[in-house]
């Protein structure tokens, strides 16, 4: 049988040996002779040379992020989205069994069912979309937790509340930053369908850009493929939300059997304002002097309010990416390099937790 020992045990043994040697030296009459001879042999041994490893030593590298770090980051964004949709659609948060893991587990502040979803008086399309999205987001949480297994982080503290005028919740803080409401108002995403859509809009584009940005960090192709699948789902969700916001902003055209629904232009301007606020937070700002939308995060209309911009792509038709730090700028509602705030008042668990320095 072979000994497996920890370093500490080794050091202990080395110390023991040293004492034994000293005891032996004291005891041995021929010590002087032995030492003299050993000096000769030590010179032959040349034992001090070439102890450096083959390649040139490099400074200590910072431990690289592994796939678990990246997917744990994604998992926590999914906790946020899933809790928001679950409360809005079903009136309850995620099952407690889906919230455990490493790190510090936190509670959810805020969240309630949107009245139209509860009583069925609202737009059936929005209600069905919301139900689908909610189920997808909950499934994302379950999938990521399953893939991460024991490495999965716990849900950190999440704030998805409107709060009060004096003590605004994260949604009110976001809406104030975007100019949707004044400093004396609150924004409650659960108040009605329109507010729910704007609340969903805050998250969905972030999710898409976050998964695209994280794709370069995922090394294992199996999980990269799974992440691509989640990205696609998030992109469908974002497209739905943007489309409905745009449609409602323009107003529903009259048909022979129905009355025209009044347009809610504030949905378009609101969504565009949220987009600009996200740009401001993550460091990509619209060029106001030229009027050209040079930013990555685009609203749902072009230069003309009637021109749609459902899919926020660049000149090549490619959707943009956000780094993990930029994503955290938005969910922390802070353009500076911080490690908590906004929707995550106690920060994130895991190894990705600091936002980028844009302010």
């Amino acid at each position: 049988m072979t000994d497996i020992q920890t370093k500490l045990e080794i050091f202990d043994r080395i110390a023991t040996r040293r004492n034994e040697r000293r005891g032996f030296l004291r005891f041995a009459g021929g010590g002087a002779l032995a030492v003299g001879g050993a000096s000769l042999l030590a010179a032959c041994g040349n034992d001090d040379s070439d102890l450096a490893p083959g390649p040139t030593p490099t400074p200590t590298p910072a431990p690289a992020l592994n796939d678990a770090d990246v997917l744990n980051f994604a998992l926590q964004l999914e906790y946020l989205e899933a809790q928001f949709y679950a409360f809005a659609v079903f009136g309850v948060g995620l099952n407690a069994s889906l919230l455990t893991g490493t790190g510090t587990q936190g509670a959810v502040t805020g969240g309630r069912q949107v009245p139209e979803f509860a009583n069925g008086t609202g737009d059936a399309v929005i209600r069905e979309y919301a139900r689908e999205i909610a189920l997808d987001e909950i499934a994302h949480v379950a999938f990521l937790r399953s893939a991460l297994g024991t490495a999965a982080v716990a849900q950190p503290a999440i704030n998805i509340s409107a709060g009060t005028v004096a003590s605004p919740g994260s949604f009110t803080a976001a809406a104030r930053a975007a100019g949707l409401v004044t400093a004396n108002q609150i924004f409650d995403p659960y108040e009605n369908e329109n507010n729910f859509l704007l609340g969903a809009f805050i998250f969905e584009d972030v999710g898409v850009s976050a998964y695209k940005g994280a794709s370069v960090l995922i090394a294992n192709k199996t999980y990269l493929e799974a992440a691509a699948g989640i990205l696609a789902a998030e992109a469908y969700h974002a497209g739905l939300v943007r489309t409905v916001l745009y449609r409602r902003g323009l107003g529903t055209p009259a048909t022979p059997t129905t009355a025209a629904v009044a347009a809610v232009p504030a949905l378009i301007t609101g969504a565009n304002a949220i987009s600009n606020a996200r740009d401001s937070l993550d460091g990509t700002v619209t060029n106001t002097s030229t009027g050209v939308i040079g930013d990555d995060d685009q609203g749902i209309t072009g230069t003309d309010a009637n021109v749609s911009n459902i899919v926020p792509t660049d000149a090549n038709g490619i959707v943009y990416s956000r780094s993990a730090g930029q994503v955290l700028n938005i969910v922390y509602l802070n353009g500076a390099s911080v490690s908590s705030g906004g929707f995550f008042p106690a920060g994130l668990n895991g190894n990705i937790k600091t936002s980028a320095a844009n302010a």
Binding site: T2, I4, A28, L41, L51, N66, A68, A147
Partner: protein, 288 residues
Amino acid sequence: MKTSHLLSCAGLALSCAFAMPAAAQETTEERPFSGIYIGAAGGYDVQGNDVGSSIQFDRNLDGTFGDQVSTIGGANAFSPGFCNGSARTAVPTFGCRNDDDGWAYYGRVGMDAQRGNIVVGVVGEFGKSEITDSVAAFSSTPASYTMARKIDWEASVRGRAGYAVNTTLFYGTFGAGYAKIDRLFFTTNTANAFAASGKRQQWGFLGGGGIEQKLTKNISIGMEYMFHQYKDDDFRVRTTAGPAISGSPILVANNPFVLAPNTTGTDFKRSDEKFRWHSLRATAAFRF
């Protein structure tokens, strides 16, 4: 008769030992190195420098070493390299500790026969040496992995042949050794699990030479050089997914030691398959 002559000589020597200086007494002895003796040997053992030694890997567990351990991205997971000592930290920047040289102590029993100036004999020896021979590898994790070997005990039976000038014997010796080798493995990798295996008793040989001087009829001292070499190629460390990662499919799927297609693990072995060292020791013997 020869025997009675010897006995009378012995009796004379014994009776004279109290009255005469030892040196004067011994120079008169006819065959000072004949007979049985017991003795002790002790000294300091040093090792040569195992330049270029490393740890080799068997990634697919087919028994053939020399495989590259790769990260999920295909890069060499052991790109930081190796060193022929024990790793101080997880990174090579801080270098390695030298192999440990150390004291050695042995007991011995032997028998010599002398004809004229020629002495031949056989000696058996048992003892231990405090040397440690290590080799380390550094992975890009970053983590270090050190494999070490020590002597638990060593036994040998050697032939001895020499040339005696009065009470001084110059000799050479060569024989077979059998040793129990302790294996140590330590690592800064806390994610994987490591299990060591391998036969610890190994055969080898010893060779050297020395000089022995009789001080009295029964007492001799000497100094001796010895080279020891043991074949030590059985030590294996099997690296598997440890408890820290086995519960996480993602961590397992990204761990270089258990990457698909072989998710069982990876074997380590030392590239230097011989445990070699030199000893210089003082000897003392009581001759019957």
